[in-house]
Every structure is written in C-alpha cells, then in structure tokens.
C-alpha cells in the first residue's frame, strides 16, 4: 500500500509534466488539425533556455532565494519559448496552410530534426546537469519498512501545474480570445467571415502551447536536474499519446490523459519492468487510437462526405 501511494505521487508529478506538453498538441490539433511534431523539441529547447537562465540568475544572486529564482526562470523561459513557438508557426507552418494534408506534418518533422540538431550544435551533445535544488521532502506515512515521501519538487510541480491549468482554462473558456479560438476550432472559414482574425488566433494558440511546454520544461529540469538535446522526442510522443488518450481537442482531456500516462508509466516501471516502460506507453497509444479514436473526453469524429 505504501509503495502504491509513493508511486501515485511520483506518477502524478510525471503526469503533470506530460499534461502540460499535451495541451500544446491538443490545442494545435484542435484548431488546425495538424500533429505539431516539433512540439516535443520545443519542450526540450525550453528546458535548455530555463537551464541557462537559472545559471545566470544563480551566478548573479547566488542560490539563496531559490523560489524567487524559479519564478523568474519560469517567466523568462515562457516568454522566450513562446517567441520560438511563434516564429516556428510563422516560418514553417503558416505558408503551408491550405496545402495538401501531409505538407505541414512533413514540415513539422523537418522542424523537429532542425531544432534537435540546432540545440546539439549550439549547446553540445553532452548531458547538462543543474546543481541540485529543492531537495527536502516531507514524510507522509512512516512505517517500519517503507515511508511515503513527497518532495518539495513534487509539491512545486503539482501546484504550478494546477495553477497554470486553471489560468489557461479560464483563458480559453471565459475570455474573447478563447472564444475566438473555439470558433476557429469549429469552423475556420465561418469564424473568418464573422470577423475573427484567424491567423492571429492560430499564432496565439502556438504561443500558448509553447509557453505551457516551457512550464513543462522548467518542471522537467527541476525534477530530473538533467537535460540533453534528444530529450524532446520521447516525452513528446508520450504527451501526444496523452492528448489522444484524453480525447484530442479537449483541454481537460489532455491533462487527464497526461496524468493517466504518467501513472501508467510509473506503475509499470514499479511493478513490472523499467526497461519496457516506453513500450507500454507506445502500446497504449496504438490501442487507444485503434479501439477508441475519440479518446476519453473527446467528441467522436463525424465523417463528412
């Protein structure tokens, strides 16, 4: 039981990160119907940006005020990653809007390869590790054989994710911007006719997706303390799995899917075999897509002739 509880905490932490990345996939897929293949690499890039800012702040102010430093890093990483997200959309995807179905996907794969190699080139191929931070933890249940702990890192990650999700949910559900987004999602042409600036709305969607990926990147860095240039691919695919599992196009679905994927991965490595944890995630992706393509919270896709 204690082991299960511990795994639950770990799974929720990991799942929060997947959920944050998954939102980027699900929003972009919802609005322009494309798998933004480079999103995983944007996440990786954001982790690098966060790493560099963290070290800059640490070298100026010392590592005394770690919480304040983290908030600074979070804001800066969100801003600069959003800039990357905007530029990528502007240069690689916008010219292909209205082109044939595969063109944006190919362009996104190219962008993914480009970003991965760009980071490798400018930051070197080795793993980059940060000095340890937030290492304390609280013991929840003490027993003779096993004690369940929740570390400060995990608390920070879960709380930040929850707060940001609430904020973004409010943004999409209650503001004019979110209304424009949902209108574009339903029918882009009609939205344009009714005075919604479709290009701008799509740009903002990419900016929001990238900003949330940056949050995930910072959290990833806090959790593992290490990042390398090829860390984008597997979390990217898993986050996509999460988006599909939750029902693509649905914001709460992405978070739910992320949490589920995180839990499944952690439970799988805890109880079965750590070697095959990625295989488990990929199998879930295949099974969900084949048997339940609309996901848990998604609307079934109506085929129009």
């Amino acid at each position: 039981m204690e082991v299960f509880l511990q795994q639950l905490i770990n799974g929720l932490t990991l799942g929060s990160i997947y959920g944050l990345i998954a939102i980027g996939y699900t929003m972009v897929f919802g609005i322009i119907g494309m798998v933004n293949f480079s999103h995983g690499d944007v996440f990786m890039l954001s982790a690098f940006i966060a790493l560099i800012f963290f070290m800059l702040i640490a070298s100026f102010f010392g590592a005394a005020m770690i919480v304040l430093a983290l908030i600074f890093v979070l804001v800066l990483a969100m801003f600069f990653t959003a800039l990357w997200g905007w530029t990528i959309e502007r240069l690689a995807y916008r010219p292909l809007r209205g082109s044939f179905r595969l063109a944006p996907l190919i362009s996104a794969i190219g962008m993914s390869i480009f970003l991965m190699n760009f980071v490798q080139l400018v930051q070197g191929p080795r793993n980059k590790s940060t000095p340890p931070m937030l290492n304390k933890s609280i013991t929840l249940i003490e027993s003779a054989t096993y004690s369940v702990q929740i570390s400060y890192k995990q608390i920070v990650i879960i709380v930040t994710t929850a707060v940001l999700l609430a904020a973004f949910w409010y943004l999409v559900q209650k503001t004019p911007l979110g209304r424009a987004q949902r209108a574009c999602e339903q029918d882009r042409k009609m939205a344009a006719l009714l005075g919604v600036d479709v290009d701008r709305t799509i740009s903002i969607t990419f900016i929001m997706g990238a900003a949330l990926a940056a949050v995930a990147g910072v959290m990833y860095l806090v959790l593992y303390g290490v990042v390398s240039f090829h860390d984008g691919f597997v979390p990217g695919v898993k986050a996509f799995t999460a988006a599909v599992l939750g029902g693509i196009g649905s914001l709460p679905g992405a978070v739910l899917g992320g949490l589920l994927i995180g839990l499944i991965e952690v439970m799988w490595s805890g109880y079965f075999s750590i070697d095959y944890k990625d295989v488990a995630a990929f199998c879930i992706l295949a099974i969900v897509l084949v048997f339940m393509p609309s996901g848990i919270l998604g609307r079934p896709e109506v085929e129009k002739v």
Partner: protein, 460 residues
C-alpha cells in the same frame, strides 16, 4: 516578417519600409538567440556547468538576418506579385524531361551500370572505394527504401512513419539466421523479405481503420516498439551491443578474400577489397531496379489501380466495391517486403547491426525522400535520395571550409541540421515535391489536367 504593403502605385523602392521589416526580423532573431546562443553551457574541469558568453555569434546571426530580410523586402517591393519568386529552370524543362523520360531512364541506367568503372577511372583503385561505397551503395539503399515506401505512401496514400521497423526486421532476420544457422545470403534475402512482409501485414491489421495523421503516429509507435524490444531483449538481439560478425555475402558461393579459393584467385584478378564493394553495388542496384520494375508493373495491375484510387478517395473506393482491407494490407506488406530486402542487404554490407541504425530519424529520412521527391514519382524519389543523402555525404568532403572558418569548423556537424532545414524549405517552396507527377495511371476517356487533390487546394 509581415508581408510588405506593395501597391502598384508605389512600385519604387521604399527603403524605410524595408528597413522596418529588417529591423523587426533582426529583433525577433535577437530574441530567439538570447539564451540559447548567447550563452554556451560547458562542463569545466570540476565537472560543474559553466556559461560561456558568445555575443559575437548572436551579433553575426542578427546581422545576417537583418541584411537578408532587407534584401528580400526590397526584392518583394519591386517584383510583380503575380510572378513566381524564383524560376531556376527555363519554362518547359520539366515537361521536356517528362516527354523523354524513357530516354533519360535509359541514360540514367547506363550511368548507374557503368558507375564503378567511371569511379575507378577517375579516382583510381584506392580512391574509388569511398565513392562507390559512401555514395553509390549508400544512395542506392535509400533509393530502394524510398521506392519501397513509395508503394505505401505514394501509391496507396497511407502515411507510414515506422517504415524503418521493416528495414530492421529484414536486417535482424538476415543477421540472426546467418549467424545461428549458417544460411547463405541468397537464401536469406528472399526469406527476410517474406518475414518483413509478414510483419507488415501483422502491423497493418490493427491500423486499417485509421487514416492520415493518426495512422502516421501509430506506425511511428510500432517502429519505436520494435526498436525498444530489440534494445531490451538482450538474449535475442544482443541489445545495445547489436550483432557483429555477420557473414558477408559471397559471389554465389565464392568468398571475397585473399585465400586461394577466394574470388580474386579463382578469376585470376589481383586481390582487392574493392571487388566486394563493386559486387555489393551491383546487388543493391539490381534490388533497386527490381523494386522500380515491380512498382511500375503493379501500377498497371488491378491492385495498383486500387491503391491509387484509395489514395485519391477512400470513401468513393469503398462505395465502388473495392476491398479496402485487402488493398491496404497488400500495400503495407509489399512495401514492407522491399524494406526487408534492403534491410538484409544492409546487414550483409555492414557486417554489424545495432538498434542505433533503426531510429526514428531513419524513418523520417526515408519519408522525406518520398515526399520531397513528389509522392508516387519514381524519378522524384531517386533525385530526392541523391540530393538528401548524397548532399549530406558531400559535406564530409568540404575540407576547404576549414580554411575559411578555422580548424574547429566541422561541416559534418551541420549534416542533420541542414537536412531538417531542407525538409522545411522544400515543403514551403514546393509542397507537392520536387517532381510532382501524381496523376492516376487509369482514367476515363481523357486525362484531366488537374488532379482532385490540386482542386481541393484551390488550383482548379
């Protein structure tokens, strides 16, 4: 970054607007560069991460973007909007090539057959090894893989991001069967093709209902699953270490070595390692040509026509009574079979395989070759393979760049970077591929000038 306002009245150059554009682009570039280029991270002697400021690199990037954007903006102002931006080839070139495609095919074939001889004459016996192996064999493997995937993606319109799985199945089939049972290359070549086709069918079954992006992601997942199993099932596949000492192919039973029974001694040549390379070159050439031949023939068979119909419109296909299940499965398995052939050839050529050779990047490369070449076009695939693979191989040869940029400059580091960049640029420049002849081979009464897909994009 935004499109410049160029009304016909203000045709003369508006320097101020162009400068504004350029300044905006430069500002964005500066923002993009800020953390990621401006500071490099490096482990110092105590294994602690330190930052190296690199503002000179940022300055260069910003300056290049500023000047480039300025020139582009000026060019756009003076250009008539209706004219295409660049025209590399004179009008009608593509049409000329298409009319005489048989002639060019023969010419290309002649060049390919005589390529080793040309290489030996130009580069000598020692220099030719690199050209035949790195360029000839390497490019032909990708041409063959491209043509194999072309059946799935180009003809049947099923986007497959896990094609490398079948390549891996072929390679591991050859490696394991040859090492454990001592079977020869010529028995295992068809056998690995059959095994790969079997796997193609097995993986094809569950994904039959999916289409488009979903299909792409599931095939990607399958490709990764196979690779992860190969990594983790150490007893079976050797894990990360891979399989080494795979028996090399023989000349129909005669090994390529310096012994008395070897190829050189038997035919009275002086021994040279080049013999095997040349032999391998002709084997892969034959395999690639078989792939092309089969593709061309299949397109004229009912199944090929069904593939093309499926690609154009699946719903119409079903309403006309075409069995889409069988059609998709044949496309998957035949495509996989050629991947398997290429895989077993790859294992025989390398003598060593490991899961590292079958990463997602390979699938992306092959898919890029098919799509950039123009889906469904054999010529396009071949040209794209030469450009993408040969082009990146050529980077290894650019030693003179070291004299320009200093000794640390290593062109090969930019290989994949340029590769990804080229994928994006070619997609934007020509979304339908370099050679876009995607016409159905079967048509009613007269060939329509524009295919259904183009009409959808608003060209019709």
């Amino acid at each position: 970054m935004t499109a410049p306002a160029s009304t016909p009245a203000a045709r003369e150059r508006d320097l101020k607007a162009a400068l504004k554009e350029a300044a905006f682009a430069a500002l964005i570039t500066f923002g993009l560069c800020i953390p990621i280029i401006a500071w490099g991270t490096r482990q110092n002697m105590d294994n602690v991460l330190v930052l190296d400021p690199r503002w000179d690199a940022v300055a260069w990037a910003v300056a290049i973007v500023f000047v480039g954007r300025f020139l582009v903006a000026l060019r756009q102002q003076t250009k008539d909007k209706r004219k295409p931006m660049v025209r590399l080839l004179p009008h009608g070139t593509v049409g000329f090539f298409q009319r005489h495609s048989r002639l060019f095919s023969l010419f290309g074939l002649g060049f390919l057959v005589t390529f080793p001889i040309i290489a030996i004459n130009l580069a000598g016996w020692s220099g030719a090894l690199k050209w035949i192996d790195n360029f000839g064999v390497q490019i032909l493997i990708y041409v063959m893989l491209g043509w194999g995937l072309n059946i799935v993606v180009g003809l049947a319109g099923l986007l497959d991001l896990g094609y490398v799985a079948f390549y891996a199945v072929g390679a591991y089939s050859y490696a394991l069967l040859a090492k454990n049972f001592g079977l020869s290359f010529w028995i295992l070549l068809p056998l690995s093709g059959i095994l790969a086709a079997f796997w193609g069918m097995l993986l094809g079954f569950p994904v039959l209902r999916l289409r488009g992006d979903y299909l792409a992601i599931v095939t990607l997942a399958f490709g990764e699953i196979i690779r992860l199993v190969l990594i983790n099932w150490v007893d079976f596949s050797g894990g990360y270490a891979g399989i080494s000492g795979i028996p090399r192919p023989t000349f129909f039973g005669t090994p390529f070595n310096a012994s008395d029974t070897g190829f050189a001694a038997k035919f009275g040549f002086e021994f040279s390692p080049l013999h095997r390379t040349i032999f391998l070159y002709y084997v892969i050439l034959a395999l690639a040509l078989i792939t092309a031949f089969v593709t061309l023939r299949l397109r004229r068979l009912p199944v090929g026509r069904a593939w093309e119909a499926l690609r154009e419109d699946e719903i119409a296909c079903r309403s006309l009574g075409i069995n889409t299940t069988n059609t998709k499965l044949t496309a998957f398995s035949i495509g996989a079979m050629f991947g398997g052939f290429a895989g077993s050839f790859f294992a025989a050529r390398q003598g060593f395989i490991s899961p590292e050779s079958f990463v997602f990047m390979e699938s992306a490369t092959i898919l890029a070759i098919v799509v950039l070449g123009g889906m469904g076009s054999l010529w396009g695939c071949a040209i794209a393979a030469i450009v993408m693979v040969g082009g990146t191989e050529l980077l290894r040869e650019l030693d003179w760049l070291k004299q320009v940029f200093g000794n640390e400059f290593d062109p090969t580091k930019y290989r994949m970077l340029l590769f990804g960049f080229a994928m994006v640029v070619i997609m934007i420049w020509k979304p339908r591929g370099l050679i876009s002849t995607r016409e159905p081979t079967a048509y009613l009464k007269e060939k329509k000038a524009i295919s259904a897909d183009m009409v959808q994009e608003g060209h019709g």
